[in-house]
Amino acid sequence: MTGWLFSVTAGLLFAIGLYGVLIRTELVRRLLAANVMATAVFLFLIVVAAETPDGPDPVPQAMVLTGIVIAVSLTAFALALIRHFRAVTGESDPEGGDDD
Amino acid sequence: MNTFLLGAALFLLINLAAGMVRVYLGPTTADRLLTLLLFGTTTVATLLLLAYSQASAVLVKVALLFVMLAAIASVAFVRFPHETVQKTDDGRGDHD
C-alpha cells in the first residue's frame, strides 16, 4: 500500500515538474520545476530501497544523499547563470525580446 | 500507545492542512510568513510523535534541526525589502 501510494505520488510529482519545465518560461520558476522533477526521482529510489526484502537498502539512500548535494550545487550555479543572463540581455526569459 | 501517538500525528497533519488555507487566502505577505511559523511548530510536534511511535530516536534530532531552520527562514524573509515582494508579483496583486 505504502509503496504503491508513494510510487504514484512520485510519478505525479515528476509530471508536475515536467509540465512546469514545458510551460513556464520565466527562468527561476523553470529551475523550481526541474528541482521538483529531481525530488520525484529521489522519491522513486527511496521507495524501491524501502521495499527490499531484507531491510532498507543503504545504496539508494547514499545515492539520494549525493543527489541532494548535487541538486543544490546545480541550483546555485543555475541562479548565477540566470543573473548573468539578465545582466547581458535584460530579459527574464530566453524566448522574449525579439518576437512580440 | 503507538497507535495513539500515530493518531495524534495524523491529527496534527490535518490541522496543518487546514492552516494552509490561510496561505492560499493570504491576503498579505505577512500571512504567508505566519504559516511558515505554523509549519515550524506543527512539523516539530509531528516529527516528535512519529519518533516515539516508530521508535526511531534520530527523528528527535531532525525535529531539533527544524526548530532552528524555521528561525533562520523567518530572518531570511524579514531581510527582504517590501518592494521586492511586489515587483516579483507577475499576476494579480495578492498583498495589501
Partner: protein, 329 residues
C-alpha cells in the same frame, strides 16, 4: 493491528496530497515570492516524508540542504531579480512557451504515469552482486562485503561530490565577475532588534548539533555533508544579520577553507597508492583518525562553499573578530 495500519495509511495519503498540492502551487502559482515560499514548505514536507519512509539520514540532509540552503538561495534569486531590474521594465512575466498547454499536460502526465509503472514493475530483490563489488570485497581489509563496497565506492562518490560543489562555486564566480555583479545582502544600515540575542542563543546550539552530526557520521559515511550544511546555514544567518562583510579582495583564509576538503582528500587518494593497488583504500592502522580528519576538512569546505554561493561575493570578512562563528572568516 488494523487500526494503526489505517492511521498510517491516512497519514501517508495526506502527506502525498500535501506534497502534490505544494508542488503544483510552487510551479503554477502567480508571484515568484509566493512560489519560493511554497517550494520551501515543499522541502519541509519532503523531510517529513523521508522520516516516514525510514530514511532519517535523508530527512536530516533534506531539512538542512533542501529546505534551508536551497530556500535561502532562491530568496536570493528573487532579490537579484528585483535589484537588477531596469526601471522601465515590467514585473517578472511569463511569455507563452513554445509548447501549448493542451499538449504539455497529457505529455507530462503520460511520462509521470509511465515512470511510476516502470518503477513499480522492477524487481525488489536487489539483483545479483556486480563482479567488481565481489572483487573489491576479496581484496579489502574488512570482512563484510557490503561495508567494504560502501567504503570504497562512497569514497570516490564523496570526492566527486565535493568537486561538483567546488565547480559550482567557481562557475558562479566566473559568471558574476564577468558582468561585475555585486554581492547581495549588503550590511544593513540599522541594526535589527532581537537578532543579536537570537544569534547568541542559536550559535552554540547549531555548532554543537553540527559537531554531533559530524561525529555520528564518522561511523556511517556522509555525516560531513549534513554537518557542513548545518554550519553553512549558520553562516547564512550571520550574513543575514550583517556580521559578515562581503569584500572584493580574495581572502587567504576563505580560499584555504574552500579548498582544504578537496585538497586533503585528493592528497589522501594519491598517497593511498603507496600502500594499496587502488586509490582511496584505507591503511590498516590509523584508518579511523584519517577518516575523521578528512571528513572534518570536508565539513569546513562544504560550509564555506555554501555560504559563498549564497552571498555571491568573492570572500567574506567577519566584522567583530571577538565573535568567531565556526572558524569562517
Amino acid at each position: 493491528m488494523p487500526v494503526s495500519d489505517l492511521l498510517a495509511s491516512g497519514f501517508d495519503v495526506l502527506l502525498c496530497i500535501g506534497l502534490l498540492w505544494l508542488a503544483w502551487q510552487a510551479i503554477t502559482g502567480t508571484g515568484l515570492f509566493r512560489s519560493v515560499v511554497m517550494f520551501m514548505v515543499f522541502g519541509l514536507m519532503m523531510a517529513v516524508t523521508w522520516a516516514r519512509l525510514g530514511s532519517p539520514d535523508l530527512a536530516l540532509a533534506e531539512a538542512a540542504i533542501g529546505a534551508g540552503i536551497t530556500g535561502a538561495l532562491l530568496l536570493n534569486a528573487c532579490r537579484a531579480a528585483v535589484s537588477e531590474m531596469r526601471s522601465d521594465e515590467q514585473p517578472l512575466r511569463d511569455r507563452p512557451s513554445g509548447v501549448p498547454k493542451w499538449l504539455a499536460l497529457p505529455l507530462s502526465l503520460a511520462a509521470g504515469v509511465g515512470l511510476a509503472w516502470l518503477m513499480h514493475s522492477i524487481p525488489r530483490d536487489g539483483g545479483p552482486t556486480p563482479e567488481a563489488a565481489i572483487k573489491a570485497a576479496e581484496t579489502h581489509f574488512l570482512d563484510n562485503p557490503i561495508t567494504s563496497v560502501l567504503l570504497d565506492f562512497r569514497a570516490i562518490d564523496t570526492l566527486l561530490e565535493m568537486a561538483v560543489l567546488l565547480l559550482a562555486l567557481v562557475g558562479a564566480r566566473v559568471l558574476l565577475d564577468q558582468r561585475r555583479l555585486p554581492a547581495l545582502y549588503p550590511v544593513p544600515d540599522h541594526p535589527m532588534p532581537m537578532l543579536p540575542s537570537l544569534l547568541a542563543m542559536i550559535t552554540p546550539v547549531l555548532l554543537l548539533t553540527g559537531l554531533y552530526l559530524f561525529w555520528a557520521g564518522s561511523h556511517a559515511p556522509g555525516g560531513a555533508f549534513q554537518a557542513g550544511a548545518l554550519l553553512g546555514a549558520l553562516g547564512v544567518m550571520y550574513q543575514l544579520a550583517g556580521r559578515f562583510t562581503p569584500t572584493h579582495e580574495p581572502g587567504t583564509v576563505n580560499a584555504l577553507l574552500i579548498t582544504v576538503g578537496l585538497g586533503l582528500f585528493s592528497l589522501f587518494a594519491c598517497l593511498s597508492l603507496l600502500w594499496a593497488p587502488a586509490p582511496l583504500s584505507h591503511p590498516e592502522q590509523g584508518a579511523y583518525a584519517l577518516v575523521l580528519l578528512i571528513e572534518f576538512a570536508l565539513m569546513l569546505s562544504i560550509a564555506a562553499t555554501l555560504v559563498l554561493l549564497f552571498v555571491g561575493s568573492r570572500s567574506l570578512q567577519l566584522r567583530r573578530s571577538t565573535n568567531h562563528p565556526g572558524g569562517r572568516q
